[in-house]
Every structure is written in structure tokens, then in C-alpha cells.
């Protein structure tokens, strides 16, 4: 049962008492979305997008032309522009904010689910989105909606600048639209880009299990045509998303047998129908179980989550509570192999590892300067561990299948960074007693574990073994 604290959160830290009622402890964290526990600077998405704009415009429109015959000069000036726009800094700041929620907040369960949703509506590696806006998107659109209906999160994620740009919807132009006609007159071809429409169906809502056809995807793309950033010569593709009627495919569309009128409201109406489709709740229930419990969730696991969804009309706190309860119910039978990020946070929390730079230290950063190496520690670390949360390779996010996290190099990283982490602990946590208490609090078989790590005398070796035991790798 104690692995429940590691399964739905990151285990219990040295200052935390073992809750008398584990379910109540978890559920109490899910009703509200509290302020961030990070006490340093937090920038709005819009401001960060402004820096992204300066970078894109400066590189594409200025430097590439100015240095067309000078490779080295181009590289040099481009590096200056990186620092002038904070390219190496912002995502490190975002990681501090992100990990404070796991390690220093009163709601680590909410944090673990935040990471789930950020990965569900993933912004994968594209251009320099990760360096500028992905963290902010996950704060303002994902986390901010965790006490709302799923529909609200889906509506905002779909129409948010990050997703529209990430999935190329700005290039999705109705072939019979006014814009396409104008383009044709200039000898250019414009048409649908079905990327975003397909992912909305496949990854974000109903999943292929619902049996949509390629025609449904195209019709969905027609509905989405015209949703794009407001274009400007200096803004390029970084303007706010709006509905451009000139790029919208005229006429009504049919998706999954339902008819949608032409125009702005089509997308909102279609999303409403998608999130209320039975396949959507089944898919999300399956994914929540897969994230928290096992690679192969059973019907019995998914059922209470689907019921909670139906009863609450997709209210996320109720869905989360149902998922947590199922995880609790199965916590003795199933252990889930933890991805590198959750593993690192678990170790940092339980062993009191000083993972996150202080707000005061991060706020020393001045735009235009190169960040100090230690201000970039988290970026390097996540890259080394093989799971930088803003750099998923594909729009389906980082995998939550165990096998994908098993490779010799990935396992080596856990060995060497467990060791590194040990040296980032405060002195008073580097004692045998500290470990005994921590193991007692967080594991169901403390006696066996103490015996195993007792085979090595040095504390650092005990630490490395503990955090690479199957009991820790899986929770």
C-alpha cells in the first residue's frame, strides 16, 4: 500500500507524516488549482511568445540575409540573438516551476496528473517552442484547467497558439476558400493540412478506436480551416490565434455522422461532440490507468473512471479522484515502471535531494546575457536522463509504455545520476538513520530492502542501489 504514495505522487518527503487516510490525502489535492509554489519570476505565455517572435524574425528576416556569404558570422550573430531573447534560460525557469510542484508544493498528486495532461496535449519538439513557450502553455492552458471540465481544457488547448502552430493548422486552408482562390490567381496552390485535425481525433479526444474514417479527418480539417495566428510582417506566425473566415472552407461538414455549419462556431461545436463521445472517455480512462497503474489496463480498472466522467459531465477533479481510487485499489497488485522524470522526482523528494536552483539564483538572470551554467542544470539533466518534458519527439508525447524506457543507456543514466544526486543532499540527510526512516515510510517491504542495501557499507552505494531496485523503478 505504501507504494501508493509513489504511484500517484513522488513518495513522502522527510518532513511529511504518513497520512492516516491515504485516499483523503490524495483527493484533497485535486479540488483546486492553487498558486504555483515557485516564488521566483513567472512570465506569461504572451511575453515569452514575444521573445520567440524576436528570435524567429531576427534569424529568418535579418541574419540569414545579412550573412548570406559568411557562415561563421551568421553563427556568431545567431548566438547573440539567442541570448538577447533568453533562448537558453526560459525553459530552465519553466522546469524550476514545474518541479517545485512535485517537490515543494502541498499537492504533488495534482503535479503528477499535470504532467500527464501536459503530455496528453503534447507540444513536441518543433522549431524552438520548447525553449520559449511550451512550459508556459502547460501552465496557462493545461494546469489552469485542471479544476474544470475536460471540454474546457480541450477547447483551449486546441485553439491555443502553441497547438495551432505545432500541428500546422496555420497551413490548413479550405481549398474552396477565398484565400485559396486568391492564391490560385497568383499561381499558388493552397489546401487542407489535416495534421491538427487528425491529432485532435486520434490523440486528444476519441482515438482510432471510435472508428473514424479518413473522410472524417478531412471534414474535421475543413471545420478547422481558418483557425490560425493573425499574420503580420513583423509578427510572422506568432500572432494570437483568430478565426480567419477567408481561409475557411465554405459549406457544411460532416464528422462522425454529425453535420456542422460553416463558420467560426463549427470547431467549438465539434469539440463539444468529440469530448462527449463514449470513445473519448474510454480512451482517457485507459490512458490514466496506463500512466498510473499498468501498461495493459483492464476493463474493470477503467470502468469507475468512465462512470465518474459520465456522472460529473467530464469534470476533471472527479475523474482524477476516480483514477486515484482505482490506483489505490490496485496498488498492491500492479507496479508501474516510472519514466525518468517521475523517477528523478521520486528520488529527489524521498531522499531530500536539492534538485531545483533557488528562485533568488534564477532571478539573477539578465536578458541578453548568457545564463550561468548552474542556471541551466535542469535542462542538461533532463536531456541526459532522456526525457526533457518539452522535447517529446512526436505529438503523441513521451511514451507511457515501460518497454520504451528500458535500454542499457537509459538504465546507466539512472545509475550515474542516482550517484550524482546523493552528493546534492544536505549533510543531515546523509545518515543511515535518515535512510531507514525513509524506507520505512515509503516501501511495503522495508525489512527486505534494508537487508539488500545493507550489503554495501558506504551510504552513497546504498543510495544508488535503493533507487535502482525494482521496488523503486516500479511503483
Amino acid at each position: 500500500m505504501k507504494n501508493f504514495y509513489r504511484k500517484v505522487a513522488f513518495g513522502l518527503g522527510p518532513d511529511e507524516k504518513v497520512p492516516s487516510d491515504p485516499l483523503e490525502w490524495a483527493n484533497n489535492q485535486l479540488n483546486n488549482v492553487p498558486e504555483f509554489s515557485w516564488k521566483g519570476k513567472i512570465l506569461p505565455e504572451k511575453e515569452l511568445r514575444g521573445y520567440y517572435r524576436e528570435w524567429v524574425y531576427g534569424d529568418r528576416k535579418v541574419l540569414r540575409k545579412k550573412f548570406k556569404n559568411d557562415k561563421d558570422g551568421y553563427k556568431r550573430e545567431k548566438n547573440k540573438l539567442r541570448h538577447a531573447t533568453g533562448q537558453k534560460f526560459w525553459w530552465n525557469l519553466e522546469l524550476c516551476i514545474r518541479y517545485s510542484e512535485a517537490l515543494k508544493s502541498q499537492n504533488p498528486v495534482l503535479a503528477k496528473l499535470w504532467y500527464f495532461w501536459g503530455n496528453h496535449f503534447a507540444i513536441s519538439e518543433k522549431d524552438f517552442l520548447a525553449q520559449y513557450t511550451t512550459g508556459a502553455y502547460q501552465r496557462e492552458i493545461i494546469r489552469a484547467n485542471m479544476n474544470q471540465n475536460f471540454e474546457k481544457m480541450a477547447q483551449e488547448a486546441t485553439k491555443g497558439w502553441s497547438m495551432i502552430h505545432h500541428l500546422d493548422n496555420e497551413q490548413n486552408i479550405g481549398p474552396k476558400s477565398q484565400s485559396a482562390k486568391w492564391a490560385r490567381e497568383k499561381g499558388k496552390k493552397r489546401g487542407v493540412n489535416e495534421n491538427h485535425a487528425r491529432e485532435l481525433l486520434e490523440l486528444h479526444t476519441v482515438s482510432p478506436n471510435c472508428g473514424y474514417s479518413q473522410e472524417d479527418v478531412i471534414q474535421m480539417a475543413y471545420i478547422m480551416s481558418g483557425w490560425r495566428p493573425e499574420w503580420g510582417k513583423k509578427r510572422l506566425e506568432t500572432g494570437d490565434v483568430h478565426f480567419d473566415p477567408n481561409a475557411h472552407q465554405p459549406g457544411s461538414k460532416i464528422v462522425l455522422g454529425k453535420k456542422y455549419k460553416s463558420g467560426r462556431k463549427g470547431l467549438s461545436n465539434a469539440i463539444t461532440d468529440l469530448v462527449n463521445h463514449p470513445s473519448c472517455r474510454e480512451f482517457i480512462a485507459m490512458k490514466l490507468c496506463r500512466y498510473l497503474i499498468t501498461d495493459n489496463p483492464t476493463k474493470e480498472m477503467m470502468e469507475p473512471i468512465i462512470k465518474a466522467w459520465e456522472k460529473s459531465d467530464g469534470f476533471l477533479p472527479e475523474i482524477h479522484k476516480a483514477a486515484i481510487e482505482v490506483a489505490f485499489h490496485y496498488s498492491d497488485q500492479y507496479n508501474k515502471f516510472q519514466n525518468p522524470e517521475n523517477w528523478l522526482l521520486q528520488m529527489s523528494k524521498m531522499a531530500d535531494v536539492d534538485l531545483i536552483p533557488s528562485p533568488a539564483f534564477m532571478d539573477l538572470y539578465k536578458i541578453g546575457n548568457k545564463p550561468i551554467r548552474d542556471q541551466r542544470a535542469l535542462e542538461y539533466l533532463m536531456d541526459e536522463l532522456g526525457q526533457h518534458p518539452y522535447l517529446a519527439k512526436q505529438p503523441n508525447g513521451w511514451s507511457d509504455i515501460s518497454e520504451d524506457w528500458m535500454s542499457p543507456e537509459l538504465l546507466i543514466r539512472r545509475l550515474v545520476y542516482a550517484r550524482e544526486a546523493y552528493y546534492k543532499k544536505s549533510g543531515n540527510s546523509q545518515t543511515k538513520e535518515f535512510y531507514e526512516e525513509m524506507i520505512e515510510k515509503n516501501y511495503d517491504n522495508p525489512g527486505e530492502i534494508l537487508k539488500i542495501i545493507g550489503q554495501h557499507r558506504e551510504l552513497v552505494h546504498k543510495h544508488v542501489i535503493l533507487f535502482n531496485l525494482p521496488e523503486t523503478l516500479r511503483s
Binding site: 532522456g386 528500458m406 535500454s407 542499457p408 537509459l410 545509475l415 550515474v416 523503478l473
Partner: protein, 385 residues
């Protein structure tokens, strides 16, 4: 100069007369053969790497990007002058090129294109396994893949227990600790973890002293070559080279595209060195998501295009040749009026290569790895079968 479309299909004339004497396959059947794929990310410019000689359209559209002192390969094609190691292989009858080829993807997004070059599919993100992984599964090559990268690349997915090598900058814990973990894993029936710990423990013994190895592709390739050479070593290796997306300052011989080509060239060199005589039983192929526009842009770079080229090396090549069904570079011959066309589905080359190296009937690969898509069996033309 004018080249007719079908000119190259017959292969280069010098070695043609040898081609008739095919010996039975028997001799090869029990040999360990290796397949190496080098992924070139960003869109490799086939016309920069392997330029056509004397084409007026080409010279006109790329005034500032034409290379000086290219290496002449035959009467029609030259080689980028920085590809010295590849040229060396070529001269030893260990190098060949397929030109005007690409995966069947024409939309010019890196994002989608790189997904498709790895899955081998038609719809981005629809397939979750890689063509190489599926081919290995068909050949029952579990545990025979080696990726020179930290995450397991998509191209190898579809078969479990692949190894990867991308050295950490930190020192491994001592061997006793690794052995202890291995026995714990074994006791708890964590067989996958136990297998991996075995690999790691062996590595730690080899690398005692803990000097961290370089992650440069040239040193990874040396290591990979030595591993592939072992009779019980991996049979498949995958590399990645970034930086081919040169929208600006692509330049001439010392431009930014050259930097990435040189990195690719260093892999050829180190693999050859590591493999030693086993290069004879190896096939090395490059893979990219698309080529680049013929026309240079305002920043003396190139935009995303379509047709590109595949570099091939190793002793399993049939002969030194530029194999192509050359589409021409006149405006009307270009794809959408701007890109070198692709006249050979690159997947035909990869399917034929797997057929040759894995000793599996081409038709089975076509059917089970590529869903029965229309592909040409090029094994006889390109490889020793």
C-alpha cells in the same frame, strides 16, 4: 549535357560484364552480415552532395552554391569534395549512390517527414514502429540492434531488447554494485532489467578507469564497427546526423551543408576502421526525409524539397555505381516546378537491403514490413545476392 532518363538503369559499363556470373547463394548463408543505417536529419541536399555535371539548369539556378573542385565519379555525376572517405570507399569498389530517390512523402515538413522515413508509412504518426524494427522482427533478430543514441530511435521499434550506446559523461558505479543489482533483478524475475545490467556490467569492465568516451559520431562509429565485427555482436546499427536544414549560408565547399556531410563522411571512415575486413559483409545506407530545392533562396541556402540521394557503402554492394532513373532538371521535369523529382521509392532500396542482409525473400519484406506497397526489388541491381 543532356542525359536521357533511362541512362543509368544498367549500371556503369566498366563492371557490367562481370554481372552475369552470379554464384549460388550458399556460400553466404551462414555468414554474419550487418546493416547500418545513418539517418541524415534536416533534409540532405542530394544535389550538393552528388551534383550533376554540366547541367545548365542546375548551374543557372544555383549560381552561388556550385562547388569548386568536385570529385568526378563518372561522366554525369560528381562528388562533394569534402567526402574524401566516401570517395576512398568508392575507389575500392565499396561505395555507390542511388540518386533522385526519396521516401514517398512530398509535403516538406521535417516533423512529418522524419517520422515517415523511420516508420516507412504514408500518414505521419499513424505507425508506431520503425521499418527496420519490423524487418528485424521478421528476421527474428531480437537483441541484435544497436542505436548510437540515447533514446531508442523510432526506426528500431518493433522488436524488443535492442542495445544502445551513447556514453554518459559520468562514471559508472563499481562492478560489484552492478553485479549485485543484476542478481537482485534476476531473483525478482526482472529478466529484461537483468539482461541490460549484464550488458552494462560488461561495459564497465571494458571501460575501467572511467575515462568518458566522446559522443562524436566518428568515435561512436569506431565503437560500433568493433561491435559489429564480433561474431556474436549486433547485426544492425543506427546513427543520426543533424544539421542538414541549411536555409542560409549553405555555401560552397566550406558552407554549412558541408559540415554535416563531413560528419557523415567521418562515420564511413570510422566504421570501415572498426569493421576491418568485416566491411565485406556489411551494408551501410543513408536515409533522409527529403532533398532540397534546386533554386537557391535569398539567404544563399535552400528550402525543403523532395528528391535526394542515398549513399551506400560496404562489401555487399554489387558494384560502384550511381544508380538512377534521372528525371532531369528542366522546369517541367521538376517536382511541382521546384524540386528534383524522386523516381525511385527509397523504401525499395531499404527493402532490398534488408532482403540481402537478413536473407529474407523480398516479397515477404514488401508484404510484412511495407504493407504490400508497390516496391521494386533492386537486390540484383544494387547488392550481392
Amino acid at each position: 549535357m543532356k542525359i536521357s532518363r533511362r541512362n543509368f538503369l544498367k549500371g556503369s559499363a566498366t563492371t557490367l560484364f562481370l554481372a552475369g556470373f552470379n554464384f549460388p547463394v550458399l556460400a553466404n548463408a551462414d555468414k554474419k552480415k550487418n546493416l547500418v543505417i545513418i539517418m541524415l536529419r534536416g533534409g540532405m541536399d542530394g544535389l550538393c552532395a552528388v551534383p550533376i555535371i554540366g547541367d545548365k539548369n542546375f548551374e543557372k539556378r544555383r549560381k552561388d552554391l556550385i562547388l569548386d573542385k568536385t570529385i568526378k565519379l563518372n561522366s554525369d555525376f560528381a562528388l562533394h569534395p569534402k567526402l574524401k572517405n566516401f570517395h576512398n570507399l568508392w575507389q575500392n569498389n565499396l561505395g555507390a549512390i542511388v540518386h533522385a530517390t526519396n521516401i514517398p512523402y512530398t509535403k516538406r515538413s521535417h516533423f512529418d517527414g522524419q517520422n515517415l522515413m523511420e516508420t516507412g508509412g504514408h500518414i505521419p504518426y499513424a505507425i508506431k514502429t520503425g521499418w527496420l524494427g519490423r524487418g528485424m522482427k521478421l528476421a527474428e533478430l531480437k537483441g541484435d540492434g544497436l542505436a548510437l543514441a540515447l533514446p531508442m530511435p523510432l526506426i528500431l521499434r518493433g522488436i524488443p531488447s535492442n542495445d544502445n550506446f551513447y556514453p554518459s559523461k559520468k562514471r559508472l558505479p563499481r562492478t560489484e554494485l552492478l553485479q549485485l543489482l543484476k542478481s537482485i533483478y534476476a531473483n525478482k524475475s526482472e529478466h529484461d532489467l537483468a539482461n541490460m545490467m549484464e550488458i552494462i556490467a560488461n561495459r564497465s569492465m571494458m571501460n575501467n578507469g572511467g575515462t568518458s568516451m566522446s559522443r562524436k559520431n566518428s568515435s561512436l562509429a569506431l565503437k560500433a564497427g568493433l561491435e559489429l565485427k564480433k561474431i556474436n555482436g549486433p547485426r544492425v546499427a543506427v546513427f543520426e546526423v543533424d544539421g542538414f536544414d541549411t536555409h542560409a549560408a549553405q555555401g560552397g565547399v566550406n558552407g554549412s551543408h558541408s559540415d554535416s556531410l563531413i560528419e557523415m563522411d567521418s562515420i564511413f571512415k570510422s566504421l570501415e576502421k572498426g569493421l576491418g575486413s568485416e566491411i565485406e559483409n556489411t551494408l551501410i545506407l543513408t536515409l533522409t526525409e527529403f532533398g532540397r530545392t534546386i533554386e537557391q533562396n535569398g539567404g544563399r541556402g535552400t528550402e525543403h524539397g523532395y528528391g535526394s540521394a542515398i549513399f551506400m557503402a560496404g562489401g555487399l554492394l554489387k558494384q560502384t555505381q550511381v544508380y538512377s532513373d534521372w528525371p532531369g532538371l528542366k522546369k517541367k521535369e521538376l517536382f511541382e516546378g521546384r524540386d528534383l523529382n524522386s523516381t525511385i521509392d527509397a523504401r525499395s532500396v531499404y527493402a532490398s537491403a534488408m532482403s540481402t542482409v537478413f536473407d529474407i525473400d523480398f516479397k515477404r519484406i514488401q508484404k510484412e514490413v511495407f504493407w504490400g506497397d508497390k516496391l521494386q526489388n533492386l537486390s540484383d541491381k544494387l547488392f550481392k545476392t
